[in-house]
Homo-oligomer: 216 residues x 2
């Protein structure tokens, strides 16, 4: 299963490279704030890049509908009982989406801190969203995920004042001990705090990809 997925991921990766698309595999627990982060991203970036999204969930079109409302081409991939997206599901969804030229594609994975880390989708970057309400020890408890990611986006920063037990230094230490190259940003999709740094990180990825892509 994984070997076949790797072949399909290689196909996706080649497509993304040829087309100059940055594909961001956005992972995180259920309710960690992945869709809200993307809504805030659309607001912050509006007009500067051509964005699109596919969103994985066991059931419902909720996330796809939220992102279409936010103003970008988007559709939901319903996985039934599967706890993750795979390269073929993403490939087929992109054909159905037919979004035209895209600069940054967000692949919002199924809410899960385990399974999505194991399946390559052909993405340019792996990002995990971790909300401040989930507890500071999650990187240590889910090392399979945190070893795979290029960036941790710590979400729901607006709730920190209401979490008396929250210790940021414990979270940072856990991130340092699991990520190969520790990198974390802190945002609130409600207040907009920190979203500029996340957008700058995406801009940098996009600039690198645009420089790599063949002339078209």
């Amino acid at each position: 299963v994984l070997a076949r997925n790797d072949r399909e991921a290689a196909h996706n990766r080649e497509h993304f490279q040829t087309e100059g698309i940055v594909a961001v595999n956005l992972m995180g627990s259920p309710g960690s704030g992945k869709t809200a982060l993307l809504e805030a991203t659309v607001r912050a970036m509006r007009g500067r890049h051509r964005l699109a999204a596919v969103s994985g969930d066991l059931a419902t079109d909720h996330d796809g509908a939220r992102l279409r409302s936010a103003g970008i081409p988007s559709l939901s991939i319903t996985t039934g009982t599967a706890c993750h997206l795979d390269a073929r599901l993403v490939h087929d969804a992109l054909h159905r989406l037919d979004a035209g030229p895209v600069d940054i594609l967000f692949i919002e994975n199924v809410g899960n801190l385990v399974c999505p880390a194991i399946y390559d989708l052909g993405q340019t970057a792996n990002v995990v969203v971790l909300s401040v309400t989930e507890g500071e020890d999650k990187p240590l408890k889910y090392p399979v995920m945190f070893r795979k990611v290029d960036l941790v986006v710590v979400t729901k920063a607006d709730l920190i004042p209401h979490l008396p037990g929250f210790r940021r230094e414990v979270l940072d230490d856990a991130i340092r001990r699991t990520m190969p190259v520790p990198r974390a940003l802190t945002v609130s999709s409600v207040t907009g705090e920190g979203v500029h740094a996340w957008v700058a990180w995406l801009d940098e990825l996009r600039a690198t990809r645009a420089a790599e892509a063949p002339e078209r």
Copy 2:
């Protein structure tokens, strides 16, 4: 794999019945508050029942250690890359735990809203913990889980005043549309709000089980 697990779950179930043990399979997303709920349960129940716990995580002994600190026999089951406990892992952990006579055994599953719902552990009851920060649509997005559970415990109620977009009626509607017999309690493990109702629910399970168990 599932057929073998079912046989091992049947073995666990028979053991729990013979010994008069209520085994509660506690599931929920990473950071939904499963361990905090158990800590609050120990405080609220102290002395009335003999409690014990096994806690599943990919890595670390954090949850086992927290529950030992709370004053009950407990150990962690580390699953490596597996996103759920299975009946054999629980069986082997109970042999290692050697807790003596137990009235209520908590099986704290790996933080995940998908995989744990698929594996029978021989439990008396399935409970899912869902924190108010995770969003009201989670039952609809993770129906595999919510169709399987006897009770939803809505946690982190103390944060509701800080979540301006939280609509309780939307959550209740999603629960009604997915659970075969809808039943939900709302608690805060921080303030203790609602913990008495959860403890009463456990007491009822325990009374039923004690009435079923053979004379010993």
